[in-house]
């Protein structure tokens, strides 16, 4: 603890400093590789694995069962299609509803027979049908629409508050980086994309921007009227701001990630696949990437956008001449 608080003090005064801005070429390189991997790997895997909520699928209705245990149905489906996670619900008092991804007619018939055998009913009392997506194109369309409007409005809000469009641009660049990488991990691991995962994804969107704004607020403060300074440059002030908020960034991301890690751990060990694991995974990756990108992408990019400006370049020359 004392070491950590020493670090905090040194970072604050500048006695110690991590060179976030100066080494940006390395960070950009890392980001470029990550983004390319996040795009290429899911394609190599054969695209995203969308859940039945998006694609629709097959539905089986087992009527007149004596036991409404859902595990029986899950086992029966797995015996025919091991890679499908069925959604099982009890309907009324003596029926079971099983939804799986879209199955071929042959597989579908096998599942029907397996379900009938598992629940010890006549195969005629298992009805099968196709179901459409309940997260249809209209939901997706509206969500994307909302996303675009939000990003535009957030950019305007930040531009007004920080008095520069360049901060908005840098923040949104970092946001896109986070979204692409989070989505990429999902695609690369072949996890099923469920509505819960999408919600987790949207949570990341909010978190990533939030985290960037906190650090940018310190940058705004540190670089205020820096063009009149004869001892420090714009670049150095941005780097100082990142270092001064570094303890906060670390503390916040640890505090945010601890509960998510708990969900992920419990979700993965106790429950296996499921909504909780899906959503926790998206959040876990997103929070870490979101914090990382604020420090290594958003702030250096912002510095690069501005340090070339006439007034900052002149001030920098003066500082260098003084040194």
């Amino acid at each position: 603890m004392s070491k950590f608080s020493d670090l905090g003090n040194d970072l604050y005064t500048g006695a110690r400093s991590f060179n976030f801005v100066g080494r940006r070429k390395i960070w950009y390189g890392v980001a470029a590789v990550m983004v390319i991997l996040a795009i290429v790997l899911p394609i190599l895997r054969g695209g995203y694995n969308f859940g039945i909520e998006f694609r629709g699928g097959s539905e089986f209705r087992v009527a007149g069962v004596s036991s409404q245990s859902q595990q029986i149905a899950i086992d029966a489906v797995h015996s025919v299609v091991p890679d499908s996670e069925p959604l099982v619900s009890n309907v009324g008092t003596d029926s079971i509803r099983v939804q799986t991804k879209q199955l071929t007619d042959l597989k579908s018939e096998d599942v029907r027979v397996a379900l009938a055998a598992a629940y010890k009913v006549q195969s005629s009392s298992v009805a099968s049908s196709f179901i459409g997506a309940n997260w249809g194109a209209d939901v997706t369309g509206k969500a994307l629409n909302g996303l675009v409007v939000f990003i535009i409005l957030a950019a305007i809000l930040m531009a007004l508050y920080f008095r520069t469009l360049k901060m908005s641009a840098a923040a949104i660049l970092a946001l896109l980086h986070d979204l692409v990488i989070t989505a990429g991990v999902y695609g690369a691991l072949g996890f099923e994309v469920t509505p819960a995962a999408v919600i987790g994804f949207l949570t990341i969107l909010g978190y990533s921007l939030y985290d960037t704004v906190v650090v940018f607020d310190k940058i705004r403060e540190n670089t205020f009227e820096v063009e009149f300074s004869e001892k420090t440059t714009f670049k150095q002030q941005v780097n100082l701001a990142i270092n001064q908020t570094l303890v906060r960034s670390i503390n916040t991301s640890i505090v945010a990630v601890l509960p998510v890690a708990a969900i992920l751990f419990i979700g993965a060990t106790l429950l296996g696949a499921g909504t909780l694991r899906d959503i926790a995974l998206a959040l876990f990756i997103g929070i870490i990437v979101g914090t990382y990108s604020t420090l290594f992408i958003a702030a250096p990019v912002y510095s690069q956008f501005r340090e070339g400006e006439e007034k900052y370049r002149k001030a920098e020359q003066k500082v260098l001449a003084n040194a």
């Binding site: 500048g14 400093s17 309907v91 309940n134 906060r248």
Partner: protein
């Protein structure tokens, strides 16, 4: 600010927080005690608690088939209607080639069912005749005695007035053909008289009843259609002085072409005598209201008053607003359905949340020592308010907590804690500059609240935009996000800051006890005074006169010092990378 003013301000804000919490408890308590449907247990969504599965089958004439496009369109319209009735995260999808499955949490009431299945074919027709709905032939028609056929009121010239053979007081009205008249005369509204999904010819008069079976009508051809309505909402009627009354009304706004048609109709009907100065609005063939015209309505907006209450006016407005379904549906089955995710998901989720919270508490104690008491206290207060708000909103807004909602709340722990971390780190920064704890808390707060406001502003913006523009689960998520963001703000302003102000007054904290989290030695402030480098802070007060760039100057001196030291420790910083 004097010392006592700070304490007073802090006490006042804490009192407001107490009032807020007690107020919430009182509202919910009152709501559940009076059986108004409130409960301290929040309602859970479909995935956690199950609900009702309604299968809708289309009603079509023999030989016609429902197209896929019609079904998709119907799903979209039904989803909008369901969303309009609250944030319940219903699931709506097609099944097979024909059916639509609607799964909603809890048990639906009649209003919800009506909203879901009603095709909402809305028509405006002029009233030609009206009389009591439950008729024995002898009551005759009171409308007939006053109705005077008017050439201008007859939309159709082909019909010839023909007195009915029974000789009761039901004189025929121009434009009503014999078959309709005969049907009208024998119409008994207490008996079912329309086939499900019956479609009327819009160019011919119809005889029908109102939805309460109180009156029966003969109506002229359709003059304005449901599609001519641009918008509809429910509200209470305001008087000319602007005072709100207790009368509920549906406000209609017509499209440009609709408002032309409506102006023409009302212009023609208004001078007529009762009942022909009335127009009827029919929904799926039944008269929902037949208001008497108060004026010629040319502005494109109209207000319908009548026997509405809050729910019925909203239901009607929603039906009008979200349009007619392309096909009629009937409820094929309605059954309870269990949670789609099994209860172990919720228990594990809550267990994970508890473990996460415990880890956060342990981490705060390591990082902030005794200051963690404030963090933990703030999180507990935030948790209490969040719980109460969710209970309140599931009562008032039909909010249902889903598993992704639970996950959203767990993530909110992090974002809420961040506000405290930003604040504490700011206070520590001020302490490092050599200020007293009291002064550090005040100036640290002023800086921190700016950051907290703008970052929460971004989150709130996300919540509002996504709520307004999306449907289904995304909307539920936006709701949770907005809620937790507002609670974060409330807690940091009404609890964390005043608590810190009060604690800064205690000896334990103000003396910088090594366990207080504000140990100035640990924060390195004294060592700088010793080196003399810290003297710059005296120049800060001198520079306070330079008002505009006060902040910048102070930061610059710091930064300049850093730059100087940077050169000396260059090799060191290279290592730490």
């Amino acid at each position: 600010m004097s010392e006592s003013a700070v304490t007073k301000g802090a006490r006042k804000r804490l009192t407001w927080l107490g009032v807020l919490i007690i107020g919430l408890i009182a509202i919910i308590g009152l709501g559940s005690a009076t059986n108004a449907g409130a409960s301290f247990a929040p309602k859970l969504a479909l995935d956690l608690q199950g609900g009702t599965q309604i299968i809708l089958a289309p009603v079509v004439q023999a030989g016609t088939k429902v197209t896929e496009e019609q079904l998709t369109q119907a799903v979209a319209i039904i989803r909008q209607r369901v969303d309009a009735s609250g944030v319940s995260e219903a699931q709506i999808n097609t099944q097979g080639n024909n059916n639509i499955v609607v799964s909603i949490p809890g048990a639906p009431d009649e209003n919800t069912l009506k909203l879901i299945r009603s095709s909402a074919k809305l028509e405006f027709r002029p009233v030609l005749e009206t009389s009591q709905g439950i008729s024995s032939t002898s009551t005759g028609s009171n409308a007939g005695s006053t109705a005077s056929p008017s050439a201008s009121a007859a939309p159709s010239a082909s019909a010839t007035p023909k007195p009915t053979a029974t000789g009761t007081a039901t004189p025929a009205v121009a434009g009503v053909d014999a078959a309709t008249q005969a049907f009208y005369d024998s119409l008994d509204c207490s008996k079912s008289f329309r086939k499900a999904g019956q479609v009327d010819d819009p160019t011919k008069p119809i005889a029908t009843c109102d939805t309460t079976a109180y009156s029966k009508y003969v109506l002229g051809p359709v003059e304005v259609e449901g599609t001519d309505v641009a918008d509809a909402n429910a509200g209470t009627v305001t008087t000319s002085t602007g005072a709100s009354t207790n009368t509920w009304a549906v406000n209609l706004k017509f499209t440009p072409s609709g408002s032309d048609k409506f102006a023409k109709t009302t212009g023609r009907l208004f001078p007529l005598t009762a009942p022909q100065n009335r127009f009827a609005i029919t929904l799926d063939g039944y008269v929902i209201t037949a208001p008497t015209l108060q004026a010629v309505i040319t502005g494109g907006t109209a207000q319908i008053t009548g026997s509405f209450d809050k729910n019925s006016s909203k239901a009607l407005a929603d039906q009008l607003k979200y349009g007619a379904l392309p096909i009629n549906f009937e409820v094929q089955s309605q059954e309870n359905i269990s949670a789609t995710l099994g209860s172990e998901q919720l228990t594990s989720g809550l267990l994970a949340g508890a473990i996460g919270l415990l880890l956060v508490i342990i981490y705060s104690f390591i990082q902030y020592r005794a200051l963690a008491v404030v963090t933990v206290g703030s999180l507990v207060v935030a948790a209490i308010i969040t719980y109460l708000m969710i209970a309140l909103l599931s009562w008032r807004q039909g909010y249902h907590l889903s598993l992704s909602g639970v996950a959203g709340l767990i993530v909110a722990i992090g974002i809420t804690a961040d506000s405290f971390i930003v604040y504490f780190e700011r206070v520590r920064d001020e302490l490092r500059d050599g200020r007293s704890l009291g002064a550090s808390v005040e100036s640290g707060w002023k800086r921190a609240i700016r950051t907290i406001l703008v970052s929460d502003g971004v989150s709130l913006l996300a919540a509002v935009v996504l709520y307004a523009l999306t449907v289904g689960n995304v909307r539920g998520f936006a709701y949770t996000l907005g809620l937790t963001t507002l609670i974060d703000l409330a807690v940091v302003i009404l609890f964390t800051h005043p608590m810190l102000e009060l604690l800064a007054k205690t000896r334990f904290y103000s003396s910088g006890h090594s366990w207080s989290g504000f140990d100035s030695k640990a924060l390195g402030a004294t060592s700088y005074v010793g080196r003399g480098a810290f003297r710059v802070s005296s120049s800060v007060s001198a520079e306070k006169a330079a008002k505009a760039s006060k902040e910048a100057n102070k930061r610059q001196t710091l930064a300049e010092r850093k730059a100087a030291e940077n050169a000396a420790t260059d090799s060191k910083s290279g290592k730490s990378n």
